[in-house]
Structure formats: structure tokens, C-alpha cells
């Protein structure tokens, strides 16, 4: 039988019509709970939802959603690579922050011209992310240290390290009350794409990178031997060992790939928007990634939709506040949605198991009686 975790991480799938019932249930349940919260707080739920949808449909906001979603999606993929083999890389947060800081300094130094600089920055970020993740990987492979514990601790160390590096006498440049790395030269800015009509704002060029990463993730996991070994290790380590998978090597490889993907998380912001790593650089994206990986059940398309939903929720806080609704409603909605998805899938899965048992017992019982037993 599958375990609860197998089901949460989407390693076990639902059949037929049930596959459609689960997400539908989750959405209805989330809307219901949020409506109740709104009613308790004295707001009309229908008004609130209408306003949010209207707000989110504006061209300017759509651009924001796609750009934010791009970053969130990369974070989710980084987390999901580990999740698929039962490897909980909680350290994505530290990995991307450290990677972004060091990549930003390298980019700001302007060692190579133009587009080459973009490539260099991205490669440095992936390398730093992979190296930072490999510490936890080596600890797990050689000493059996739980990656959950080590990556959480490495997050704290990354925070200290970036704080130490981002000072005026090291990598930082003091700029009024802000401190940041030297700005990346203009010829190395990732060009944007004016995809959405009705606004001068541009879609971040990293959307294409994110799509490639998403396809790469799906192909790697579902169409390669490595992906098969990775999923097999996640589903049953003894079985994987018995069939000749080197689990230690899988741990290190998966963690390094996860870390390299984590290095990409900061890139849309760094190369497409801020062009420096400063005190304002977004934080906590690694944890956002965990939530979205759960929401998308580690599936590339699921995570893409989850990332957009998350971006929508995050940016709806201002629209809510304009209606005098507390911005904390956003956090409630996020929590409820993740929980509803997990609960809905679990409920549907259990229903399916029971239904299948019933059907089987029915079929087995059938030959015994001429007319068949009533279920």
C-alpha cells in the first residue's frame, strides 16, 4: 500500500474521474472556508472575491503575476527535485540567497561584456547553490545526517554569511540608507518581453528559462533512467538498492541538482529587475517553493498553476487592504488552500481504495451466486 507521504507528494495518482474530483473539492472547500472567515470579519465574501478577480485581470497586474510566478515556479522546482526522492531540501532558501549575492557581485564586477555576463551570473548562481546544497548532501551520504536538520542549520549559516559579506568593506556598496552589491552593467540586463497588451510593463525574460526548466524537470524525472532511479529511491529505498541503485550517489546528485535549481530562483529578480543584491532582495522564497511544490504535487504543470495562484494571492493583499480587509486574509487563504489540496486528495484516494475493495469483493462474490450479491 502507498503511504500518506507518497500520496501527498503525488507519487501515487488517482484514476479516472476521481482525478478531477480532488482538485475541484479542494477549490470549493478553500472558497468556503475563506468565505466563512470573511463573514466572521464582517465583509461580504462575494464582493471581496469579485474585486480580487477584477484586480488580478488588469494587464499591469497580470504582468506582475507572471513575473512573480516565474520566480515562485523556479523555487517550487528546486524543492520538488528533492521531494520526489523523499529528500527534504529545506535549505533552498539559504541556497538561493547565497547564490544570488555571490552571482550579483560577480555580475557587478563586469568581468565579461553583455550577454556573456548574464550567462556567467547564472552559472555562478547555479554553482554556488549546488555547492551549498552539497554540504548537506555529503553529510547525509557519509554520516547519515538528516538533510532536514542540516539544511535548516545551513539556512541560518547562509543568513549570517550573506550578512557578513554584504557590508561596505566586503561585497557591499553603501547607497544612502541601503546597502547592495555594485549594480550589474546595463548591457547585461535580461531583456523583457512586451507580451501582455495594455501596459508598458514587460514580462521578465526568465519566463522562458522557467519554461525550459519546467520541461527539463518533467523529462528528467519521467523520461530518463536517472529520473526513474530517483523516483524509485523515493518510493522504496530497499527496493531501489536491490535493483542496483546507488542510493548515496543518488542523494548527492539529487541534492546538487536541487541546489543548482535553487541558484536560479534569484535570477529573474537579479537580472530582470533589481540588478543588485541589496537589503531589499526578496527573502523566504525557498519556503514559498515548499508550499507550491505541495500544492502542485511536484508536477511541473501543477506547480506552474500553483505558482501563479500564489503570486495572485500575494499581490492581492493591497487590493484587500483598499477594501479595509486585513491583509492577513491572504495568509489564511494560502494555508487553507494547501491544506484543502492535501485533504481533498487524501479523501478521494481513500474513497477510491474503499470503492475498489468493494468492487473486487463484488466481483469475487459474483461467481458464487447466480444473480450476484448486492454491494
Amino acid at each position: 500500500m502507498s503511504t500518506f507521504l507518497d500520496r501527498v507528494f503525488g507519487r501515487v495518482r488517482l484514476d479516472g474521474v476521481m482525478a478531477f474530483v480532488a482538485p475541484a473539492l479542494a477549490v470549493v472547500f478553500a472558497l468556503l472556508v475563506t468565505s466563512v472567515v470573511l463573514l466572521i470579519a464582517g465583509h461580504a465574501p462575494v464582493d471581496a472575491f469579485t474585486t480580487l478577480v477584477e484586480y488580478g485581470a488588469q494587464p499591469r497586474v497580470l504582468v506582475l503575476l507572471v513575473n512573480l510566478g516565474t520566480t515562485y515556479f523556479l523555487a517550487a522546482v528546486a524543492v520538488a527535485i528533492g521531494f520526489r526522492m523523499n529528500l527534504f531540501n529545506i535549505g533552498v532558501d539559504g541556497q538561493y540567497r547565497l547564490a544570488a549575492l555571490i552571482a550579483a557581485s560577480v555580475g557587478g564586477a563586469g568581468l565579461v561584456p553583455g550577454a556573456l555576463n548574464i550567462v556567467l551570473v547564472v552559472l555562478v548562481a547555479m554553482l554556488v547553490g549546488a555547492l551549498w546544497a552539497s554540504i548537506a548532501a555529503v553529510l547525509k551520504a557519509t554520516r547519515g545526517v538528516s538533510e532536514v536538520i542540516s539544511t535548516i542549520m545551513l539556512n541560518a549559516i547562509a543568513t549570517g554569511l550573506t550578512g557578513w559579506l554584504l557590508t561596505a568593506d566586503r561585497l557591499g556598496v553603501l547607497n544612502g540608507n541601503a546597502i547592495g552589491t555594485p549594480p550589474i552593467p546595463e548591457d547585461a540586463h535580461m531583456p523583457g518581453m512586451a507580451l501582455i497588451p495594455g501596459t508598458p510593463m514587460k514580462i521578465n525574460g526568465f519566463l522562458i528559462v522557467a519554461i525550459i526548466v519546467g520541461i527539463g524537470y518533467a523529462v528528467l524525472l519521467n523520461r530518463t533512467r536517472f529520473g526513474f532511479n530517483l523516483r524509485a529511491t523515493g518510493q522504496s529505498e530497499p527496493a531501489a538498492v536491490a535493483s542496483g541503485v546507488n542510493v548515496k550517489r543518488m542523494v548527492i546528485t539529487a541534492m546538487v541538482i536541487s541546489g543548482a535549481a535553487a541558484g536560479l530562483i534569484g535570477m529573474p529578480e537579479l537580472l530582470g529587475s533589481s540588478f543588485e543584491y541589496s537589503l531589499n532582495f526578496p527573502t523566504g522564497l525557498g519556503f514559498t517553493g515548499i508550499a507550491i511544490a505541495l500544492l502542485g504535487r511536484n508536477n511541473a504543470v501543477g506547480m506552474a498553476l500553483g505558482a501563479l495562484l500564489w503570486a495572485f494571492l500575494d499581490s492581492s493583499s493591497d487590493a484587500l487592504q483598499l477594501m479595509d480587509i486585513s491583509k492577513e486574509l491572504v495568509d489564511i487563504m494560502k494555508g487553507v488552500i494547501v491544506l484543502s489540496v492535501i485533504i481533498a486528495y487524501e479523501l478521494v484516494h481513500r474513497y477510491q481504495v474503499v470503492a475498489a475493495q468493494r468492487r473486487v469483493s463484488h466481483e469475487l462474490a459474483a461467481p458464487a451466486e447466480k444473480e450476484g450479491a448486492a454491494a
Binding site: V12, R13, F20, V28, A178, N222, S315, Q321, L322
Partner: protein, 384 residues
């Protein structure tokens, strides 16, 4: 089907019944099925939203507001939009000072106001959108509280040339419609540093900063310079509660308390805190050790918890409320000046408080220093 092989290796019975009960592990269907599920999820979500939208059509009075999100203000003038940094209204510190200025102007000039809070760890694009939302829904003027809005303000102000903008604590974002409200925190801190040195019996004082960012280091620089001006060989302990990007140091009273405790144990008898919401913990520790504390931003002898407020001998006043109020007053009078408005000692933007009469004996000395700074005889460095 490869998974099934694995299962048999593991010794599991792979009968067809079991396979069905497991929900089917066939890999081939995987991608296709998941895609369909995800598409459905999206369709359902959209459908539910649409139903919600349709259901309200009859009763919703503002059903036509398709372009403008939410309830747009009726008048285009005199609606003040204010955007806070992390924490927002109710932080009993910096943001609340801005809120106080906003509320005062609101009552006095009958302005409509709306204040929006930020979420921790957001991107510049999200800050831009906050300002853009305010500007595009008719708010004017718009005030951003905190240097974090610097880049966002520069961009958005250029997009809305007819809207007046102000930003607190930042002089970098400049433009024809941006007023920069900046403070000389180091000058006020110099005076309370001098007060600490004059009041300390043990010749040992402490400074606790919330988060080690350049802005908070200005407080440290002034404090240390002021103390050394009085007593060059004074012992000064300097500690920060957190390092960026960890901003918890502004809201961690427990850490403030243990850090202050450590300083007191090491011999300090006056502690200056520039740690926002963590300051309460510092005062508690100081109260327990029967020592002296110096408050920050507002007159904390009045605003701090009554149980501990008697340990506060003075506070470094950073009058964000005055700056916000002044800006709004000028706006109402149609007299907004763009560029830097520097709130220093001379302008009365920073100062020290005398509530409680605990520094009456040294007030003349402090006033002398104040005069010297105002005259330019003493220049206080903003970096430690």
C-alpha cells in the same frame, strides 16, 4: 511497469487486485493524467470565481469597476495614500510615528486616508505595484515609509507626474514630484550619547541596535561619538539583535532583554536601544538591574509600558510624525517642495526628550552640545 518489477524484488505481491488498490502505478499515463488534473483544477478555480462574480452581479453596486480595482475614492484630490514597510501600523515605533503624523493631518485638514502594509520579503515589483495601485486609484499625495521603497518610488513617480510623492528615510529617489524626508539620526544620537556618558556612574554604557543596517548604524555612530566627546576613555558595548536579511531584530523583545542583560552583567549602567519593538525587552532588563535606559524615535518615557517607563532617562526623538504632517500641510496649502527636506537638530527634526526630569541636571551641558552641532562646530559622522 518497471515499478511493478521493483515491487516484486522487494517481495511484495503484485497481484492485479493489489495494483488496483494502490491506485495504479503505471508510469505511462502519468504525465497525461496529471496534466488533465491540473487543467481541471484551473478550470474549476476559474469557474468558481466566475460563479462568485456572476452571483454578485445583482446586488453589487460597484459592479462596473472593471478597470479600477476595489472601491475607488470619490474625489481625486485630498486622498492620502501611505505605504508602510514591513510591520505596518501598530509597530509602536517607526511606522506608528508616520501613522501619527497621518492621523493628525487627517483630522486637521479633513483628508481621506488609506494606509497599506507590506509583506516580509517581497520584491521591488510588489512595492511598485502598491504605489501604482494607490496612484491609479486616485490617491494623491502618496507617502512611502522607509528606504526600502527607494527604487520603487523612483519608477512609479515618473509614471504619475501629476501625483505628489514623499519618501521617508531616503534621499536617493529623486524627481520633480518626490519629496525626500530624511533625518539626521546621528545628531540626536550624539546628544543622548553625551547624556549616557554624563549619567553613567561606572563609565560603561551600551548600545543595542535592532538590525545591522546602515540606517541603524547611524544611531550607533552618533551615540558613540557623543559619549566619547564627554569621556574619551568610556567603555561602550555595541550589539545588534539580527543581521539582514533577518529583520526579526526589530520585533524580538526576548532577545532584546537577554542582550541587555548581558551588557548589564558586563558592567554597563546606561543602555540606548534603537531596536523598534525589541526595545520593551531592553527596558525590562534595565528595570531588573536598576540601571538606566534611553529610548528611541518617540518619547518612550510616555509611550513605553508603565511598569518600565521610569528607567528611561531620555529618548532620541526622530520626528517622523512631524515630517509626514509637514508634508501634508504643505500639500494642502499647495506648496509642496520636491527634493530633500532634512530633519536635523537645526530644523527640530531630531532632539532629545526631558520627560520625567531625570536629565535636568545635565540639560545645560546637552544644550551646549546641541548648539555646537547646530552651529556646525561639531560635525557628527553618520557611519561608525
Amino acid at each position: 511497469m518497471q515499478v511493478k518489477q521493483l515491487s516484486s524484488v522487494q517481495g511484495r505481491r503484485a497481484s492485479c487486485v493489489r495494483d488496483r488498490l494502490d491506485g495504479g502505478d503505471t508510469e505511462g499515463e502519468y504525465t497525461l493524467l496529471r496534466n488533465r488534473v491540473s487543467k481541471l483544477a484551473a478550470a474549476t478555480a476559474a469557474g468558481a470565481m466566475l460563479m462568485a462574480a456572476a452571483a454578485c452581479g445583482g446586488s453589487d453596486t460597484k459592479g462596473e469597476t472593471t478597470a479600477n480595482a476595489s472601491s475607488a475614492p470619490d474625489a481625486a484630490k485630498g486622498k492620502v495614500g501611505l505605504a508602510y514597510d514591513i510591520g505596518g501600523r501598530g509597530d509602536q515605533s517607526f511606522n506608528d510615528a508616520a501613522a501619527a503624523g497621518l492621523d493628525k493631518a487627517k483630522d486637521e485638514f479633513g483628508l481621506g486616508t488609506k494606509d497599506l502594509s507590506a509583506a516580509p520579503g517581497e520584491t521591488d515589483a510588489q512595492k511598485e505595484e502598491r504605489l501604482r495601485l494607490l496612484a491609479s486609484t486616485g490617491y494623491n499625495p502618496i507617502i512611502a515609509v522607509g528606504f526600502a521603497y527607494s527604487a520603487a518610488m523612483k519608477k512609479v513617480a515618473a509614471e504619475f507626474p501629476d501625483v505628489k510623492f514623499a519618501i521617508v528615510d531616503d534621499a536617493d529617489a529623486t524627481g520633480p514630484n518626490i519629496s525626500n524626508l530624511v533625518f539626521a539620526e546621528e545628531q540626536g544620537s550624539f546628544l543622548v550619547g553625551a547624556a549616557a556618558a554624563l549619567k553613567s556612574k561606572k563609565g560603561s554604557i551600551g548600545y543595542i541596535g535592532g538590525v545591522k543596517v546602515p540606517l541603524i548604524q547611524k544611531f550607533e555612530a552618533g551615540y558613540v561619538a557623543g559619549a566619547k566627546a564627554v569621556k574619551p576613555d568610556i567603555k561602550i558595548q555595541v550589539k545588534y539583535l539580527s543581521e539582514p536579511p533577518e529583520f526579526t531584530g526589530f520585533n524580538d523583545p526576548a532577545k532584546g532583554k537577554t542582550t541587555a542583560q548581558g551588557m548589564l552583567d558586563a558592567g554597563a549602567d546606561v543602555i540606548y536601544q534603537a531596536a523598534g519593538g525589541s526595545g520593551g525587552g531592553v527596558f525590562e532588563a534595565v528595570k531588573g538591574a536598576d540601571a538606566m535606559a534611553i529610548g528611541v524615535d518617540s518619547d518612550q518615557a510616555l509611550t513605553a509600558d508603565k511598569a518600565v517607563s521610569d528607567v528611561i532617562i531620555t529618548s532620541m526623538l526622530k520626528k517622523v510624525d512631524v515630517a509626514v504632517y509637514d508634508f501634508l500641510k504643505n500639500f494642502v496649502a499647495g506648496d509642496v517642495k520636491s527634493g530633500e527636506a532634512r530633519y536635523d537638530l537645526k530644523a527640530g527634526g531630531v532632539d532629545f526628550s526631558t520627560t520625567g526630569g531625570k536629565i535636568d541636571d545635565i540639560k545645560t551641558q546637552l544644550d551646549e552640545y546641541k548648539q555646537k552641532i547646530v552651529n556646525g562646530e561639531i560635525t557628527v559622522s553618520a557611519t561608525p
